[in-house]
């Protein structure tokens, strides 16, 4: 297992890291990728749904406090199979040290930790009565009413009630934690997004929007000398993860990954190089322009609103010969022929185009 020393951020200290991906017989190459992917992380959608449900049930508004708790050492708490421990040998000054627990950099560490923390969350919800709880890797978060605090004696401090209950549960499970990582307030960052449970907003601060736009434009730019650009799969995965995180605040920008994902399918080798095409450049430039034009504030509102409250209702249909849509409220109806000699498989395209045309027409009548 190769080891390196890297500088710690905001400090002059060094941190030891192990490289699980380099070499022909790297540790990560021996892990069945299918078994360690697809472990879902809760995201802000989950937190948003809990807040919306809370406001629906509790008539009138209450001042809410949002909290976040972090497990210390997270991945490194997870013990590994004895046979796998044999592969995790660090050599320091000629002596061999065996890493018995999960280490950062292993492609299985996230899956193993999510399994563990999901079980902890299940106990918290079903056995300890913590109603509103969302987990994201080693972060757990929730909210309580402003007047609902409970003393946590080991820190000689009162926390929002659910947070204290979660800390008690962690103590019972011998899960370590540190005071400075137990945070609460009327607005706090959770997974680097500012959550305001009283105004029901999620905000991406300006610097984080600028960083993301810079990255999007650096992918979108076409090399002036006509050369092609490629990146290793691991950078594609980083970019995809970054955008998926941003979709918490910009959910409508999801189409910017529709040309991206098909290019990343295939071999999981992190060093595999993939070419960028113009469709992806256009998608990323499109997303960056919208992010630049936005305030970065996402107002939480239900996507399942009552259809009877709609301001506009339209009906669409398409067939190989034409498209039609109409509004029952005004009895206005519209027809367009499709281009001649259409292949039958194009019908799905015209069904979708008809929806877009109805939307375009409706928007043009708004003012």
């Amino acid at each position: 297992m190769p080891t390196h020393a890297v500088p710690k951020p905001h400090s002059s200290d060094l941190r030891m890291v192990t490289d699980h991906s380099t070499g022909v017989h790297s540790l990560n190459s021996m892990i069945d990728h299918k078994k360690v992917t697809g472990f879902p992380l809760d995201n802000m959608t989950h937190m948003g749904e809990m807040l919306l449900a809370y406001y629906c049930q509790s008539l009138g508004s209450h001042d809410l406090i949002v909290w976040k708790s972090d497990i210390a050492e997270a991945h490194q708490l997870m013990p590994l199979h004895l046979v796998w421990q044999l592969k995790q040998v660090n050599t320091v000054d000629g002596l061999r040290y065996i890493d018995r627990n999960c280490t950062f950099g292993s492609c299985s560490s996230a899956a193993i930790f999510i399994c563990f923390n999901s079980l902890v969350a299940w106990i918290a919800k079903n056995k300890r009565g913590i109603k509103h709880l969302s987990t994201y890797a080693d972060d757990s978060s929730g909210f309580n009413r402003k007047d609902n605090f409970l003393l946590y004696e080991p820190y000689a401090m009162s926390f929002p009630r659910s947070q204290t209950l979660l800390l008690h549960l962690w103590d019972d499970l011998s899960t370590p934690h540190k005071l400075k990582k137990q945070v609460f307030g009327s607005v706090i960052p959770i997974i680097r997004i500012d959550v305001d449970p009283n105004n029901m907003t999620l905000t991406l601060p300006r610097e984080k929007r600028v960083d993301l736009c810079d990255a999007l434009y650096s992918w979108a730019i076409k090399p002036a000398n006509g050369t092609k650009t490629n990146y290793q799969l691991k950078y594609w995965q980083q970019m995809g993860g970054w955008l998926n995180w941003a979709f918490n605040v910009f959910p409508l920008l999801r189409p910017c990954l529709n040309n991206f994902y098909p290019k990343t399918s295939g071999s999981h080798h992190p060093m595999r190089r993939i070419w960028i095409n113009n469709a992806i450049r256009d998608d990323f430039a499109w997303a960056a322009r919208h992010i630049e034009a936005s305030s970065g504030v996402h107002l939480l509102r239900s996507s399942h609103w009552d259809i009877s409250s709609a301001d506009i209702t339209a009906y669409c249909d398409a067939c190989p010969e034409g498209m039609g849509f109409w509004y029952p409220s005004s009895n206005l109806a519209f027809y367009s022929p499709t281009p001649p000699n259409l292949h039958l498989s194009a019908i799905f395209y015209f069904e979708a185009l008809c929806v877009l045309c109805a939307l375009t027409d409706a928007a043009s009548r708004l003012d």
């Binding site: 067939c319 027809y335 799905f348 395209y349 979708a352 939307l359």
Partner: protein
């Protein structure tokens, strides 16, 4: 805004905003419109047999539509020209 269609593919792509590359420019344009007008869109299913007026319009059977709703005011529309290029491939 609510739009009804009997096409499950359209319902899936407009509600999830994920689609095959060939449809993506339709989603880009839809999102541009939603953001510019602060609109929320839900695309919902209607069985083909219940979607009588839209079905008749698409097939150019205007008299059947007018038989059901005599007050219907029918006019032509022109889809944006850029959307038609995609079908020539």
């Amino acid at each position: 805004m609510v739009i009804y269609t009997d096409n499950l593919n359209s319902i899936q792509i407009f509600n999830s905003l994920s689609c095959l590359p060939a449809y993506n420019h339709l989603l880009h344009r839809s999102v541009d419109i939603l953001l510019a007008n602060d609109l929320q869109l839900r695309v919902l299913h209607i069985p083909g047999d219940d979607n009588v007026i839209a079905d008749a319009l698409s097939q150019c059977r205007f008299s059947s539509a007018l038989n059901i709703i005599p007050e219907l005011h029918i006019s032509p529309f022109q889809p944006p020209r850029w959307t038609l290029g995609a079908t020539e491939k």
